[in-house]
């Protein structure tokens, strides 16, 4: 599903973010990317959804080398990925419903189809009753669930999450992880960057550890340390 082949990433300012990284993630896996801030976690994720391009090496997602994609194909790639962020990235002037519907509108879905799909996904994250609320009227957890709903609304094969619990308290974080577990159980591959030790240790999933841009560990049923 996702493969990194000897990927090295230098930013324009000369910072080395990833140094000869190789790994493979199969369909349906749940993978934590761990490491302290600045160790390359976000860069690794950005390479998957092609926000960044590798300086050296290849990133293969769903069988294609993302560096070779034309702009139009990048858009199509992103429709097969759902991305969730620490800061939610919701549009403040759109309601919960509109924020989720937005992802389908830009793909050109019909209004009826949008209504059905958005309703279904808001039900999954338990926000149907808050459809008409604006992000500012929601708690952090609810905002994150909205962004998860948006990420899931097009049934992506892969869910990418960059510190999704970074802004949330521990109870809410567990709530989010609960949704992630269920999403994963339905067959969606999940790649989640985090430095939350408790979550990683409890979930007992595959753990890829980064230190100064290099993979320092890759364990199944691993822990943070």
């Amino acid at each position: 599903m996702i493969e990194f082949r000897n990927v090295t990433k230098y930013y324009d300012n000369g910072v080395l973010a990833l140094d000869d990284v190789s790994f493979k993630i199969e369909k349906g896996e749940f993978v934590f990317i761990v490491g302290a801030t600045g160790m390359g976690k976000s860069t690794l994720l950005k390479l998957i959804y092609r926000e960044e391009l590798p300086t050296k090496g290849e990133v293969i997602v769903g069988g294609v080398n993302v560096a070779r994609l034309k702009p139009h194909q990048v858009a199509l790639l992103r429709r097969r990925l759902g991305v969730v962020f620490q800061d939610f990235k919701l549009l403040p002037n759109k309601t919960v419903y509109e924020n989720v519907a937005f992802a389908l509108e830009v793909m050109g879905y019909s209004n009826r189809e949008i209504r059905t799909r958005v309703g279904r996904v808001l039900d999954i994250v338990g926000l149907l009753h808050k459809s008409n609320c604006y992000p500012s009227e929601l708690s952090g957890g609810e905002q994150q669930r909205t962004s998860i709903a948006r990420a899931l609304v097009n049934n992506p094969a892969i869910l990418i999450a960059d510190e999704p619990t970074g802004n949330l308290d521990i109870t809410t974080s567990w709530e989010i992880m609960d949704y992630f577990k269920r999403i994963n159980a339905r067959g969606t591959t999940i790649v989640m960057a985090t430095h939350n030790k408790e979550i990683v240790d409890t979930m007992r999933q595959r753990v890829i550890g980064l230190y100064k841009g290099r993979i320092v560990k890759d364990e199944y049923k691993g822990s943070y340390e």
């Binding site: 702009p71 990235k89 509108e105 830009v106």
Partner: protein
């Protein structure tokens, strides 16, 4: 699929315009202001130019005919001159008519009239030209014609007027050009800045897999609509100003008597189109700058 796409772009552009009303109004106001300025500068040069062209039009070549020229020959000569390029009108002034005018202008001056005695004036043609720059060319052609006793050409004045008009035209092109560039800069920046608060929207659209058509469409349409709004408002204000100018200023200065108020329809349409175009350009600049890859 297509219809939903177009509906989406229209809806998003409309939401964008109506959501931040104050910033939309500010942008439209600034665009209107720039267009009024641009139109006024353009119009002013138009007025100045046509005033001087009007002065040039009053210049005329006077052609004195040989005595005893037959009336058929005179007619032939007149037709010949009328058909020359740049000739607007040829008026025949008979010697009697000329003498009458002379006496009229020296009425009360017995001395002059006594010296002149009998009518010494010849028949003549007064030749009006379409534009003063024709005077010099025509003078040569006309002098070569037969049956002419003398010719009176306001050559020096014509040259000066011509020089002045070409300077005015040159200056007009430069200044209007500068104003076009300035308003292009100001309007495109107003549009660009009005979008800055929405960079996040671009990022999210890209993340959820919107193609560039979907991302750019609403912004470009919004910029063009803003330009259109500014254009309409600007053109209304501009035409009111022109109306007031024509009514109060133009009529009270004899200098402008030769000036026929020019039609502002084409200029107005151009201003609106310019506003729409530059609004679109502002959107494109914004998108180019903030849309990654």
């Amino acid at each position: 699929m297509k219809i939903y796409s177009i509906a989406f772009i229209l809806r998003e552009a409309w939401k964008g315009l109506t959501r931040a009303r104050i910033s939309t109004f500010a942008a439209i106001g600034i665009i209107a202001f720039m267009l009024v300025l641009l139109g006024t500068v353009f119009y002013t040069f138009n007025v100045i130019q046509s005033v001087f062209t009007g002065i040039g039009e009053q210049l005329e070549i006077v052609l004195y005919l040989k005595d005893g020229l037959k009336s058929e020959d005179r007619e032939i000569l007149k037709n010949k001159i009328s058909s020359m390029e740049g000739v607007k009108e040829v008026i025949y002034v008979s010697k009697d008519e000329a003498w009458k005018r002379f006496k009229e202008s020296f009425k009360g001056n017995k001395f002059v009239l006594e010296i002149m005695g009998k009518n010494p004036l010849p028949d003549s043609f007064e030749i009006k030209v379409e534009r003063p720059e024709y005077i010099e060319i025509l003078a040569k052609e006309i002098t070569a014609l037969p049956g002419i006793r003398d010719i009176d050409i306001p050559l020096e004045i014509a040259r000066r007027v011509n020089r002045l008009i070409s300077w005015i035209e040159f200056g007009g092109v430069i200044i209007v050009g500068v104003f076009v560039v300035v308003s292009l800069f100001v309007i495109s920046n107003v549009i660009r800045l009005s979008f800055v608060s929405r960079i996040k929207e671009l990022e999210i659209m890209q993340l959820v897999g919107a193609t560039s058509f979907f991302i750019k469409g609403p912004f470009i349409l919004e910029g063009v609509l803003c330009g259109f709004g500014g254009g309409i408002l600007g053109v209304i204000v501009f035409n009111v100003l022109v109306f007031l100018f024509n009514k109060y200023v133009l009529s009270s200065f004899p200098l402008f008597s030769g000036f026929v108020p020019c039609d502002t329809l084409n200029l107005s349409l151009s201003l609106i189109l310019f506003g729409m175009m530059v609004g679109g350009i502002g959107s494109v600049i914004f998108l180019e700058r903030h849309l990654k890859r």
